[in-house]
Amino acid sequence: MAFDFGVVTSHWSFIAQGCWITLVVSVMSILIAFVIGTGVAIARVYAGERISHLLGFFYVDMMRSVPLLVILVWVYFALPVIVGVNVDPMTCAIVVLGLHLGAEVCEVVRGGLLSIRQGQMKASLALGMSWAQAIRAVILPQAFIRSLPPLASIIIVGFKDSALASVIAVPELLRQSQVLAGQTFQPFEIYTAALVLYGGFLYPVALALAVIYDRYCSRMAA
């Protein structure tokens, strides 16, 4: 059987557009995930048992129990009917992906925060820092450094999960590939190209994150 990868090069700008959207959706949702996840983690650790349980039950465990696809579809199709506001697919995807991934960031950062010795907070307070200053300058950086390996895999997951945006017709790489495969009747070439693009981007990113950790951050962990 002969394959003709010319179809990929002749449609390169269509595919490149998809890559760009994938990049935007991924990076935005990862940023949202880190902000929300870190915030919720701090709240879960420091704002008392009650708040911790509420956030755990209504946010973290809900996101961990329900498939991303299901949440995405629900927010995109059902939520607008309930609240009467339509959102564009791209915004919807970014927010849902960010919230979903944020739950994982939260659990990792929370584990990091809990692993920091009590004495570090005491030492910070003894130097005259406020509670907030101690968390910002002393506790949180250490929690992040300790959590870097799992956070790196979360970043990779964030890029991969962005492919689900295709389900609500966000024109990212996978969606563009589907469209192209349907138009050209050459799904093998198109999907293989997409596979190579994802892998060719994410594999080096994963390696780079590991190298950065080994070289620059492991010495700061104690």
Binding site: M1, D61, M62, R64, S65, V66, P67, L68, L69, V70, I71, V73, W74, F77, A78, V81, I82, I156, K160, D161, S162, A163, L164, S166, V167, L174, S177, Q178, A181, P187, F188, Y191, T192, A194, L195, Y198, G199, F201, L202, Y203, A206
Partner: protein
């Protein structure tokens, strides 16, 4: 706004059939994924480059690409490239099992590495052979240590089954999305779907947490 929740009762049998498919699919994928993971792990740890290289390519390649894309690739490429006709169900199972094998392989590898450091010298000193050490000392402990991580893999596998709806396998997500287009009861159907997933997923997530806690104490 009026929602017609009673219509859900009529749809319930269909939804439950979807639930069954979801559960069976996840179960079979894990059943294949454990030996698959061991095989990939053995390949990666092998002394022979002919085995290491393909195992590494499969593991690192699948880890760096979206499951949804892997699913499409298998769905469209298998029939074309290798002239195999698989049903959507079999394709879905293959994709999920492959994906789960890869993640299992990495977990087994970490487990084996963590045991081997201390224990294998002790066993070798007793005069055991390398394979004996692996089979009787290292592997049993490594598998035990892998249990909490495997539980987490199970939780994400169970969620990943929803992806098979995109190639028309009649799992819970698929039947719900079909019902939605047939009945136009978007909010009711989709909320019911989310709720059913939550009812199934929540206990699993909690179980995974408790396994994690239990096994961590033993360290």
């Amino acid at each position: 706004m009026n929602f017609d929740w009673s219509a859900l009762w009529e749809s319930l049998p269909v939804l439950l059939a979807g639930v069954q498919t979801t559960i069976v699919l996840a179960f079979l994928a894990m059943l294949l994924g454990i030996p698959g993971g061991l095989l990939l792990c053995a390949g990666r740890r092998s002394r022979f480059r002919v085995l290491t290289l393909p195992a590494c390519i499969v593991i690192d390649g699948l880890r760096a690409t979206p499951v949804l894309l892997q699913l499409f690739w298998l769905f469209y490429v298998l029939p074309l490239a290798f002239d195999v006709q698989l049903s959507p169900y079999a394709t879905a199972l293959l994709a999920l099992a492959l994906n789960v094998s890869v993640f299992n392989a990495e977990i087994f590898r970490a487990g084996i590495n963590s045991i081997q450091r201390g224990q294998s010298n002790a066993a070798l000193a007793l005069g055991m052979s390398g394979t004996q050490v692996m089979r009787t000392v290292v592997l049993p402990q490594a598998l035990r240590r892998s249990i909490p991580a495997l539980a987490n893999i199970w939780v994400s596998l169970f969620k990943n089954t929803a992806l098979v709806s995109t190639i028309a396998v009649a799992d819970l997500a698929y039947v719900a999305l079909q019902l939605r287009t047939e009945t136009y009861k978007t909010v009711e159907i989709l909320t019911a779907m989310a709720l059913i997933y939550w009812l199934m997923g929540y206990p699993q997530a909690k179980l995974a947490d408790s396994l994690q806690n239990r096994y961590q104490v033993n360290e």
